[in-house]
Symmetry: C2
Subunit: 313 residues, 2 copies
């Protein structure tokens, strides 16, 4: 008998998928699912944040609620979908002050509002402190961006910069005197407008959000697309604080930028023949590598090429 | 400062609703929400079941998973919607055997299959043992049945029989030698076909499922519709085991049938001028009372008329 603690997440997901019937449309396994309806497909996802794992030192309840919404809105964004509605199930310690719960809901609603969505339903039960949030969105007729479409020769790119959430986390853990201009750790910003533009461009062949970090994201695309990746360390856009926190703590830049996660940039691949369509949409992104015909992602330093490790967070 | 333990559920919901923006369509406050989309409205709800509260003695993990799906499918049924997809977020103790989690998922999928739906997404985190499930459905152009449409003079009715889940629970608690022909406690059957027919009939003015018991359901309709109810004890359809378990344990039939819950019949009101439309659809139901112009539900015994109490479960 194997306990959940001993199971790898990938194996657990694979086993669950072998038990449930595969649904019409797109079922579990990508950032979001696609549910076919008579009037047009909807996009939906579910994800939980917990007090134990997603409530770092110094976070406020509003920020925890914002995060609960943001992680799910980010999963819609990774498909190119536009968020419409959220539903939230809270399992909360009985001793929690009611005001803290209201703050969580206010934070969720703020995040929903920032991305054009509303909270449609909720439920509260007693438990160890988790918010399970479902996000529902629409593609408005666009094709979804999946993890499975990357082909050898495609270019690999990422929106925004990497490692700032990790830098902020480790600065706090090590009591460094470091104040980021904006807390990407506590108020993550899903790339909704970017995802919509990217899916509309027709150039993107695969996409995933980086909530589990660049290494995990790259592995997921490689596994779903049956390709490899060469990603160049020197091309990675360095987030705020990465240099400073790495020097002060001794944690390598690579660890902060590849293996920690907790950030909500989009990792994507695109057809190099269609790159003009991407430049047309005024998207800010960095090219970081190319898709290969191998089967795992490599990180390339000046003169070393190494298979990416498993994420550490 | 007030803790969640000290808060009434109604007050908590009212306060949360005052914090979040009211969405277009129908937001929190009914059995399900209605999310307007370009291609047609969808119906959605979210509800959690927990090891602590919804895992009675003798239940199997498959049955717990079935129940997690059923409580949400029942919330769709109460609106007259047809289920399409489920998404499930599990927060599970790290020491739980992986096989138990697979059993929960298999039970959910069995329930989904029984009502024409599929599991579209999931998430697993560590926690105290809860399954938060979102159900998504469609009305296919029918008008939803809401809690708020009852009018004085309408007839009150209920599908199926009442109290069998409570009887089964208390039989087990008291170690009675009682075996129901079918476990409505462990394998609740949402009234999906009934809900669809009822909403199609055009006769139903309000509806709610009885997961919280008849008294709580009646109160919710009275509060949302601003009406009262006279419900007659002698009209209540008595579920299997109610008589026997009441005699053996001394728990009154009224407690088993009104105040415990955990069953998934539909309580509804209908326009008495349209009763033929209900008889036409071959629905099995019992008339149990009438809607009044007061503001709370009363239960009427032979010669006593008493305001219903709060649910005890």
């Amino acid at each position: 008998m194997v306990s959940l603690r001993e199971m790898g997440e990938r194996e657990l997901i694979r086993n669950i998928r072998s038990i449930i019937r595969p649904p019409p449309g797109l079922g579990p396994g990508d950032d979001s699912a696609i549910i076919p309806l008579a009037g047009g497909d909807i996009v939906a996802c579910i994800d939980s944040v917990t007090f134990e794992r997603h409530f770092p030192k110094g976070m406020r309840y509003e920020e925890f609620g914002w995060t609960a919404a943001a992680v799910n809105i980010s999963d819609l964004a990774a498909m190119g979908a536009e968020p419409i509605g959220l539903l939230a199930a809270l399992t909360m310690p009985p001793d929690l002050e009611a005001d803290s719960l209201y703050s969580i809901m206010a934070g969720m609603d703020n995040c929903a509002e920032s991305f054009g969505a509303y909270i449609y339903g909720g439920d509260t039960k007693f438990g160890s402190g988790a918010v399970s949030c479902t996000a529902i969105g629409t593609l408005n007729g666009r094709s979804p961006m999946l993890r499975s479409g990357a082909r050898p020769g495609d270019i690999i790119a990422v929106t925004g910069a990497l490692g700032s959430a990790a830098a902020e986390f480790f600065a706090k853990e090590n009591n460094l005197d470091y104040a980021p201009p904006f807390s990407s750790l506590k108020i993550p910003i899903p790339r909704v407008a970017e995802g919509i533009s990217m899916s509309a461009s027709g150039a993107v062949t695969s996409c995933i959000d980086l909530s589990d970090g660049l290494a995990e994201g790259a592995k997921s695309i490689c596994s779903a697309s049956r390709v490899g990746m060469d990603i160049f360390m020197r091309f990675l856009p360095e987030g705020h604080g990465v240099d400073e926190v790495s020097s002060e703590t001794g944690i390598s830049k690579e660890d902060l930028m590849l293996y920690w996660g907790g950030e909500y940039e989009l990792l994507f691949t695109f057809d190099k023949g269609k790159k003009d369509a991407l430049y047309d949409i005024d998207l800010e992104f960095s090219i970081i590598g190319k898709v290969t015909n191998e089967d795992v992602p490599y990180i390339i330093h000046e003169n070393k090429r190494m298979a990416m490790e498993n994420g550490k967070h």
